[in-house]
């Protein structure tokens, strides 16, 4: 070991004549000490660099103990993604099995307290509504290969796990939008007729340079939820890959350079911090390994329970969640997020009888014959709701009231509940199809070329699309549909602004402040107890009036006597 270590150092003197054995020994010892101390120094530097444990590709290869380009298993060539996975699994024997236990793989999640069956496989949303019958399009964000229909996918096959979608460091690996999770293996145009040709990725090179997950790899799916950049979350879009400090104080590459997994800590490929079981209140505080819950997916995990210098600001943490003040607006990176999606207007054709789109001039469609009307917004002020972390979904088959706005999800908690906090939300609103005969949400078959597909040969025929969509989920369709307005609450946690851009007191403590619509509690400065003000000032006015009369009588009395 020592000889090996010293061998890399310049050792010219060892070849000079003399008592070379003694000299070599001494030199070896000296060089070993030198080598050890310089390595230690490097290690120290690495430990001090805030981004060392979280850095993407470049630094990652400097800290890893394995150079994947030296493994003969990864020499390639690889014809398909599953071939790469098989190579990975030769060393990482348990990795695929671990992935197969996660929501990333199953797209199914049983909520521990509500018992609801959630996950992408089950929920209904107000974007593209549902996954069933639309698999090859939706599963371009599945952490696997080949989930292209309702029944045919083998969830137990280990080679179906896609390792590199998360571990690519080249930025060249992209799942093809309609490829059921596969990248394209030959040059292919998408969207059809766009002239934009997707090139097959160099799988061998990607496999040889794998590394930790990064903002880019997580973002490859999570920034594009809802079918495009910035559509779904509002606080996650492609600008978060390389955010400025103003956009995200933790993730800015010229600052702390956090990756997603810095907070969404993982163990055995289970990623913590799922929205399905939002931790609205963290009473554990700073996450000490071995003593706590081993996740940093809450602000308190690092910032503790008394994060502010000002005690009065700390006083708020029993009712206000951190992001309420620290994410003053979402969609701040320059990309608009979708706020409204009206499916009911889909299917219009232009004068030539062709489907068309209308743009907003900034790259977003405000109308698309295939999808209906959209409203996009940037720098959006969140809406605020009480929230205890429990979200109930309106699932397929649940009876809805089509005369009102149907909640896609319902938040637990309320004022006065010690387990609830005021949280910021993106409220996604829209109109979507429902079964007018049975008053349940409808799930349409959108994607595909077949005669029933809304976007295919079905040619915007809702009846066909809903009938097939519902059938795939074993739910009876009455045959008549309508459109119902829905809203879907998305907790806002990302795009944390630098502290000097956090909300000021007046943002809420004022009349018509940000929490004006949130009743059920007393908030100073917001004009609550207004009746007391009316009564109090009236009494003061009457007193003043009495005084004026009294003073007038005094003046008159003095005059009379004169």
């Amino acid at each position: 070991m020592i000889q090996g270590g010293a061998g890399r150092q310049p050792a010219a003197h060892a070849h000079e004549p003399g008592d070379w054995i003694m000299l070599t020994r001494r030199l070896a010892l000296m060089l070993a000490v030198l080598a050890w101390s310089s390595t230690a120094a490097v290690a120290e530097e690495v430990a001090q660099a805030p981004s060392a444990t979280t850095a993407p590709s470049a630094q990652a290869t400097a800290t890893t103990t394995a150079d994947h380009s030296k493994f003969k298993e990864l020499a390639g060539p690889f014809a398909t993604g599953p071939e790469v996975t098989k190579a990975c699994l030769q060393c990482h024997t348990e990795a695929a099995h671990q992935i197969q236990q996660t929501t990333h793989w199953t797209w199914a999640f049983r909520h521990p307290t509500t018992g609801q069956e959630l996950g992408k496989r089950n929920v209904v949303n107000n974007f593209c509504v549902a996954t069933a019958t639309n698999w090859p399009r939706c599963t371009s964000c599945h952490v696997g290969y080949g989930w292209k229909d309702d029944t045919g996918f083998d969830f137990a096959a280990q080679q179906n796990v896609d390792c590199v979608v998360c571990h690519d460091t080249t930025g060249t690996y992209k799942k093809f939008p309609t490829g059921a999770g596969h990248p394209t293996y030959e040059p292919k145009e998408f969207p059809p007729g766009s002239g934009k040709v997707w090139q097959p990725p160099d799988l061998a090179k990607i496999a040889q340079t794998v590394g930790p997950t990064s903002r880019q790899t997580c973002g490859a799916c999570h920034f594009y939820g809802g079918g495009g950049d910035a559509v779904k979350h509002g606080d996650l879009d492609s600008t978060m890959a390389m955010p400025s400090r103003a956009l995200d104080v933790h993730m800015a590459p010229d600052g702390l350079n956090f990756q997603c997994s810095t907070c969404h800590t993982t163990g055995s490929h289970q990623v913590t911090g799922s929205r399905y079981v939002t931790k609205a209140v963290d009473r554990v505080g700073i996450d000490v390994p071995g003593h706590t819950d081993d996740t940093r997916a809450t602000c308190e995990s690092c910032h503790g329970m008394v994060p502010h210098e000002d005690a009065k600001v700390n006083d708020h943490t029993d009712v206000v969640a951190c992001p309420t003040c620290h994410v003053p607006e979402f969609a701040r990176g320059g990309k608009k997020t979708k706020m409204w999606w009206d499916w009911s207007t889909a299917g219009k054709l232009n004068d030539a009888g062709k489907p068309f789109t209308v743009g907003d001039g900034a790259g977003n469609h405000t109308y698309d014959s295939a999808k209906g009307d959209f409203v996009w917004e940037a720098n959006v002020v969140p809406e605020y709701r009480w929230f205890d972390g429990e979200i109930r979904y309106t699932l397929l088959g649940d009876t809805i009231d089509p005369t009102g706005v149907v909640p896609i999800n319902t938040l637990g908690g309320g004022p006065g509940d010690p387990d609830s906090r005021i949280w910021p939300f993106k409220i996604m609103r829209g109109r979507q199809p429902y079964d007018a005969g049975t008053n349940i949400l409808a799930v349409p078959h959108l994607f595909g070329k077949d005669e029933n597909a809304f976007w295919g040969a079905g040619r915007y025929d809702w009846n066909k699309a809903i009938a097939v969509g519902m059938q795939a989920r074993d739910v009876t369709y009455s045959g008549s549909y309508g459109f119902v307005e829905t809203e879907y609450a998305w907790p806002i946690t990302h795009m944390v602004a630098p502290k000097d851009e956090a909300l000021a007191c007046e943002s809420c403590h004022s009349e018509n402040g940000r929490l004006a619509t949130l009743g059920g509690f007393y908030m100073p400065g917001a004009g609550h107890h207004g009746w007391l003000g009316t009564v109090g000032w009236s009494f003061a006015g009457l007193t003043l009036l009495g005084i004026l009369v009294h003073a007038l009588l005094r003046v008159l009395g003095a005059r009379r006597q004169r």
């Binding site: 029993d318 007046e506 509690f521 107890h529 003000g533 000032w537 005094r554 008159l556 006597q561």
Partner: protein, 217 residues
């Protein structure tokens, strides 16, 4: 109808000591500022901005509390607290004076202040009410308000911020009424500024102790 007699004619001497005047005027300024900032926090007005108002209100509150500790000590060691013990003696005459006699310049104030009893019964009631009802209500509710997040730890979890704020604001409105009345009463001397002058210079007409029982009628 001159009811004063010549046998105990008043002399112009120090009625309000330097400390009393210092206490009074400092307190007046602080309370005015507390009122302005407090009603901004309550939401009645916008003057310096909510955050600044909260900060100022707290600093002012602690300053006034400090002043009160001094004043309490002073009143205890000098025995001057007795000035605020309420009485009904000659209350009728004083009330009649302020509701009728005051409008006739020939009618003198029925109460003849002495050093040991310089406040008439109406003053005793008003100042006593200020000192033992309004201000303690403000102190208690205000300190609780500030300690909002310690309530659970102190076993006060049954309190609600809305109620505490309500008590605090209601007491503040009572203080507003006191303030308005008090300021007006300061100008009811003869001449009108006599009482104000007395509170500034300390010197006022007073009678010899002990105060002879006044024929109230």
């Amino acid at each position: 109808m001159d009811r004063t007699t010549h046998s105990d004619s008043p002399r112009d001497e120090v009625m309000f000591t330097r400390f009393e005047r210092l206490w009074h005027w400092t307190q007046a300024v602080i309370i005015l500022a507390l009122g302005l900032t407090g009603f901004e926090v309550f939401g009645s007005c916008r003057v310096v901005g909510y955050e600044t108002a909260v900060g100022l209100h707290q600093v002012l509150a602690w300053t006034l509390l400090g002043l009160w500790v001094l004043a309490l000590f002073w009143h205890l060691v000098t025995g001057e607290w007795r000035q605020y013990v309420p009485t009904l003696a000659s209350m009728g005459a004083v009330l009649r004076y302020y509701t009728a006699g005051i409008f006739d310049p020939r009618i003198a104030h029925p109460y003849r202040p002495t050093r040991a009893a310089k406040h008439n019964p109406l003053q005793r009631l008003a100042y006593g009410g200020f000192l033992v009802v309004i201000m303690p209500a403000l102190w208690i509710s205000g300190l609780l308000y500030m300690a909002y997040n310690q309530w659970d730890a102190w076993g006060l979890g049954f309190l609600s911020l809305g109620t505490v704020a309500l008590v605090h604001a209601a007491a503040a409105f009572a203080l507003v009424l006191f303030f308005v009345g008090h300021v007006y009463m300061a100008f009811t001397g003869r001449p009108a500024t006599a009482y104000l002058k007395a509170m500034i210079t300390g010197r006022a007409a007073h009678h010899d102790d002990p105060a002879p029982p006044h024929p109230a009628a």
